[in-house]
């Protein structure tokens, strides 16, 4: 189908943020969104959460432990495709700046760590546009783990990577799993030319850098909303 490869043949711009849990990416993309909308730009925010149609299947699969690396990957790709075609693509066609809190690279990292061949997963997700900018919030693994594991309730089975049999202890399993995800992200960062943002710094400093990059790489004037907020 047509939406493949470079350059993006839609008027909108796609900005993705990726990084480990605890890298501060959600805070940063939230601030980015506020800045853009308060400045009167057409911006649409989307995050990685399940759409209704596959949520029940995913839930059952997880509960009954039916999921294998392959079906885990395919069911999440189905879910992503639904959200992509329902939200992301239409908004790009409508000329919005789309901010995605986690995009296909989250799946690429996770699925390859679970053992799916990287080329297979890359091909699977090849229908989805390459972002115009992919911000990769990187920080030392140690720091990320400390941030997440402090004051966090019990880790969920798949979240801790328990299905990989890395360790019977969820916290230990989570640490090893995140370590592997970290490595997978580093490989993706090179292959897909992520824009690396060092995120072990004050929130304000990071946000300033991110806004600066956005201003440099996207001609924001083109995305000024014709009507004030509330009238769209």
């Amino acid at each position: 189908m047509p939406e493949k490869g470079f350059p993006n043949a839609v008027p909108g711009k796609l900005v993705a943020v990726e990084g480990l849990d605890g890298s501060g990416k959600s805070t940063q993309v939230y601030l980015l969104k506020r800045w853009l909308e308060l400045s009167g730009y057409k911006v649409f925010f989307t995050e990685w959460n399940s759409s209704d149609i596959v949520r029940s299947a995913t839930r059952r699969g997880k509960k009954q432990n039916l999921l294998t690396p392959t079906t885990f990957s395919l069911i999440h790709c189905t879910d992503f495709a639904d959200r992509y075609e329902r939200n992301i693509l239409p908004m790009l066609k409508a000329g919005f700046i789309v901010l995605a809190d986690r995009y296909k690279f989250t799946a690429l990292a996770r699925d390859t760590v679970r053992g799916c061949p990287p080329e297979w997963v890359e091909q699977l997700y090849s229908f989805a546009f390459q972002p115009d900018i992919t911000f990769y919030f990187s920080l030392p693994l140690r720091t990320a783990l400390d941030r997440i594991l402090v004051g966090r309730p019990a880790l969920k089975y798949h979240e801790a990577g328990m299905d990989l049999g890395l360790s019977p202890d969820p916290v230990e399993s989570f640490k090893i799993f995140q370590g592997r995800i970290h490595k997978a992200y580093e490989a993706l960062a090179r292959r897909h030319r992520f824009t690396r943002i060092r995120s072990d710094r004050p929130v304000e400093a990071i946000q300033e850098e991110v806004r600066g990059i956005l201003r440099d790489r996207i001609d924001l004037a083109q995305y000024k909303a014709a009507l004030p907020r509330g009238w769209r």
């Binding site: 059952r60 039916l66 392959t70 395919l74 069911i75 189905t78 495709a81 075609e85 699977l124």
Partner: protein
């Protein structure tokens, strides 16, 4: 005839094929081509000869069959999402039904396989390399037989049996025509053309389905015998 068993691509992570001693036999063909009748007759015949038979088909996985049926009823998914949903359904059956049955030495009769899924998607505009990559997880069957019935004949069978034309089997979602008849004939013709294209790649056996069931069965049995008898 006894070639080493392989996947079309890298297959399923962690699965080797050395111990898959059973036989995978696929029957392809449109609705109304007599697939279910033939599968019932073949099952009887195989069981009488002492073979253990397992059945798989489309939309029969524990993981997503229910959600898939729901999604089709509501017709809310894009072709891409539906395609991935079917791929998930297929992968789940491959891992939880087909592979275990082959390991246990069963004859697995598949009431359609990846080729129908690919053909349907191709008719709806999906590109073949993408589909081939998605389905590189599939096991190469021992035998694939395609029941060929001309679209006009299919239509007659439908109406003669007092069945209503199915929305999807008539390709109504594609929008060829608002006439069910025209859409059905056009869609089934496109599917057939696509099957011919796939046959050139995957080498199925085409069986003339426009004969009395017994004659078709004898034909199928001869083909199956050639695959299952060599080693007794």
């Amino acid at each position: 005839m006894n070639l080493p068993r392989t996947f079309y691509g890298k297959g399923i992570p962690g699965v080797t094929t050395g111990d898959l001693h059973g036989k995978l036999i696929v029957l392809e063909g449109p609705d109304g081509s007599g697939r279910s009748t033939q599968i019932a007759l073949l099952t009887e015949w195989l069981e009488r000869r002492g073979h253990a038979v397992e059945h798989v088909g489309l939309k029969r996985s524990n993981l997503v069959a229910e959600e898939l049926a729901e999604a089709k009823r509501g017709n809310v998914l894009s072709p891409r999402t539906l395609s991935l949903f079917y791929a998930t359904d297929f992968a789940d059956q491959l891992e939880h039904r087909i592979l275990p049955a082959l390991r246990a030495g069963f004859v697995v009769l598949a009431d359609r396989y990846i080729y129908t899924l690919m053909a349907r998607d191709m008719v709806r505009g999906a590109d073949l390399p993408w589909l081939q990559s998605v389905y590189s997880i599939a096991l190469v069957p021992d035998l694939v037989m395609y029941l060929r019935v001309a679209p006009q004949k299919l239509m007659e069978r439908y109406i003669y049996r007092g069945r209503e034309l199915d929305y999807w089997e008539s390709g109504m979602d594609i929008g060829y025509s608002r006439s069910w008849y025209d859409s059905f004939i056009r869609y089934q013709s496109e599917l057939h053309r696509t099957f011919n294209r796939l046959q050139a790649i995957y080498g199925f056996v085409t069986v003339n389905g426009m004969r009395v069931p017994r004659a078709v069965t004898r034909d199928l049995q001869t083909r199956i015998e050639a695959v299952i008898s060599p080693n007794g």
